[in-house]
């Protein structure tokens, strides 16, 4: 408590709380609520029942109607808090409801049915997590197929990207060969041209290669990222040439220099690119949407979009699936957050 107060009322050196400090923390507080609130709200709500999601106004924590077994009835009955006509309040089990009137029975002492107006009743709820939201779609909606496709695309595209981008960046930063300026300018030029501009012909190239509706058609067109070449080249330029010359004198081949000197030394930049690449490929939507047409080839993002396209939206499943889709990235972020934020800030590249 005292720590919190101290934290909240820290001042900038003077003993008075400056108005700017208050505004600053207000901004950060509201910002935190705004930036993180929606995800938290979605995650919490993904454990609610469909009925509860439709309730207005919504309750914060997931809960479920409490049920009781009553003698003489096959299925458990819902428990209600009922205000009886004489003013007393009792917990009764609802047998059936006819219009605005409901029939109740006392679960402890089953006897005569009690008829009450529905306005006088309130269901008894208790905290409960609706794991069904996660289990059902996993069984019914091919979630694992989508997940597997996304993992295959993300992992293989990232590995290929890291390999070919770092090789190209090595050549462009450490060798003086004809055409390297043209290559670099061409690569930089495509940074400016949005991928949507070449969406149609790219699709044609992929179809001609026979890759439409195949995962390889999603993977290979994305691997030669201009951002990656640019980022790695800029980093490799800072590696002194003397190191390479020394290695050459010791008899190392150019390939060995790449493996044993350049790659280890450029690992911070490669790590940033790896994180970017995982993020790009995991979250890609438009390109897979164009290339993949059959459901069993869909990536997770497409699957999610499909869930919401199916006649009426079943939010309880959709939320659960969204949580599963953002979970891998979130876990990576929690563990590597400092590394990611400082790495991105210092490289200052586009996403």
């Amino acid at each position: 408590m005292s720590n919190t107060t101290k934290f909240l009322f820290r001042t900038r050196g003077t003993h008075r709380l400056h108005i700017a400090d208050i505004l600053m923390y207000l901004y950060l507080g509201l910002g935190t609520l705004l930036m993180f609130g929606p995800v938290l709200w979605g995650a919490v709500s993904s454990f609610k029942t469909a009925a509860e999601l439709e309730r207005f106004p919504p309750s914060f924590l997931p809960s479920a109607d409490e049920k009781v077994e009553v003698e003489g009835y096959d299925s458990p009955l819902s428990l209600y808090t009922v205000t009886l006509d004489d003013g007393t309040v009792a917990e009764l089990a609802q047998v059936r409801r006819i219009g605005i009137e409901a029939q109740f029975i006392d679960p402890v002492n089953p006897g005569e049915l009690i008829k009450v107006h529905v306005n006088q009743t309130e269901p008894v709820r208790s905290f409960a997590l609706q794991w069904q939201n996660y289990i059902q779609p996993l069984q019914r909606f091919q979630f694992f197929t989508f997940f597997k496709n996304s993992v295959i695309v993300t992992v293989s595209a990232t590995l290929i990207t890291l390999f070919i981008n770092s090789l190209a960046a090595f050549a462009l930063s450490k060798y003086d060969f004809r055409g390297r300026h043209i290559m670099f300018i061409l690569i930089l030029g495509t940074l400016m041209i949005p991928t949507t501009v070449t969406l149609v012909p790219n699709f044609l190239v992929v179809t001609t290669l026979g890759w439409s509706n195949k995962l390889i058609g999603v993977i290979l067109p994305t691997v030669a990222t201009p951002t990656g070449v640019f980022l790695l080249r800029q980093y490799m330029l800072t590696i002194p040439d003397d190191l390479l010359d020394a290695a050459r004198i010791d008899g190392a081949s150019e390939w060995r220099i790449y493996w044993q000197i350049i790659l280890p030394l450029a690992s911070p930049a490669i790590a940033v690119l790896a994180i970017f690449s995982v993020m790009w490929r995991w979250n890609d939507f438009l390109w897979p949407l164009v290339v993949l047409t059959q459901t069993d080839k869909f990536t997770l993002q497409m699957g999610l979009n499909m869930f919401q396209g199916q006649f009426d939206i079943q939010w309880q499943y959709l939320l659960a699936m969204s949580v599963l889709a953002l979970l891998p990235i979130t876990i990576i972020f929690i563990f590597l957050q400092r590394y990611i934020t400082t790495g991105i800030a210092s490289s200052g590249v586009k996403m």
Binding site: F56, L204, K350
Partner: protein
């Protein structure tokens, strides 16, 4: 400022890594033999070409070639995708797009959806870029203060950047629906529940808002890096000279922050023009055509309709690319960053 990466990621136990490192060594030795052989044939300088080759092959196939084909498409017609099945139409596709009674009124144009999309995109870009500039600078300036929990807040603001636009769109769609949490928290204050995404102006607002929400953390980091590069001594000198907070912000921070701001401006601009994913999932371009932007027009024409008009889509995308390149060059000229 003192926050350099001091803690390295924890070392994974060597034993677990053994199969991986072993495999790598094996791979390396085999590739060594192969590469040595090549190097003896082509020489040291020749190896550079071998190294750029894989990247350039993919780059040529999936970036340069499509760019060329795009031009071919734009000047040919027909519904078939293969080049030999198409017939030349001259500038026909561009004529269709550019045929307008009055360029300010999309209804008077033959390709009215293209112009509506363009108009929507212009408004989107103006608000999105403006809002991201303002909020990324504001957030970065605050996060650059000596406050507790700086790392935490930085992560919080950055977190949405990592999420996929589909997940973002679904989450917000659910928050904004009539029975959603936003309406629920507004009704106690006497507001009527609003069907946000079924109202043209509200859905335009929310589409921009979510675009900013999802990206502002990334640009905040860029601005923050720019702020941290400004030496503290400048502020101290200004303080001695009697400059207040506002004055030192205007005369020191802003001028020195200019390179970072240009990066933010150019990147947000390029991204904003290409807006598609989250809008497509959230509103599908609706209500009506209120949130239909230029990329969705290209997608609809080229892929979503039964008669796929690749020529028209390619022509539209070339116009889009042209606008982008011209505006980016203008931005760079105006902001005087041509030398970078």
């Amino acid at each position: 400022m003192s926050e350099t990466i001091t803690q390295k990621p924890k070392k994974i136990p060597q034993l677990l890594l053994l199969p991986i490192t072993g495999l790598l060594h094996l791979l390396m030795n085999i590739s060594d033999l192969f590469m040595d052989f090549i190097q003896r044939r082509v020489g040291i300088q020749g190896m550079a070409y071998i190294f750029v080759l894989p990247n350039m092959v993919f780059f040529a196939m999936f970036s340069l070639l499509p760019l060329l084909i795009n031009f071919y498409y734009a000047f040919t017609g027909g519904v078939k995708p293969l080049p030999q099945d198409r017939f030349p139409v001259g500038t026909g596709n561009f004529d269709i797009l550019l045929e307008c009674g009055n360029y300010l009124d999309p209804n008077s144009c033959r390709a009215d959806l293209f112009w509506r999309g363009l108009q929507n995109t212009i408004w989107y870009v103006i608000f999105e870029v403006g809002a991201i500039l303002i909020f990324s600078v504001l957030t970065a300036v605050i996060l650059n203060q000596n406050i507790k929990g700086r790392g935490f807040f930085r992560s919080v603001f950055f977190y949405p950047t990592l999420l996929s636009s589909v997940v973002i769109a679904l989450l917000w769609k659910w928050i904004l629906q009539r029975e959603g949490i936003l309406n629920a928290s507004l009704t106690p204050f006497g507001f009527e529940p609003i069907n946000f995404l079924l109202d043209a102006n509200w859905s335009r607002f929310w589409v921009i808002f979510i675009g900013v929400w999802a990206k502002v953390g990334f640009y905040t980091l860029i601005v923050l890096a720019g702020l941290q590069a400004i030496p503290n001594t400048l502020y101290e000198a200004a303080k001695i000279d009697g400059a207040g907070r506002g004055a030192s912000f205007r005369h020191i921070t802003l001028p020195l922050l200019k390179p970072s701001l240009i990066v933010v401006l150019v990147l947000t601009f390029i991204r904003a023009v290409q807006v598609f994913d989250h809008v497509f999932v959230m509103t599908g371009g609706g209500p009506g055509t209120a949130t239909q932007y230029i990329v969705q027009y290209i997608y609809n024409i080229g892929f979503a309709t039964s008669l796929q008009n690749f020529g028209l889509a390619a022509a539209a995308s070339i116009l889009l690319g042209l606008i982008l390149v011209i505006l980016t060059i203008i931005q760079m000229r105006v902001t005087g960053s041509g030398e970078e």
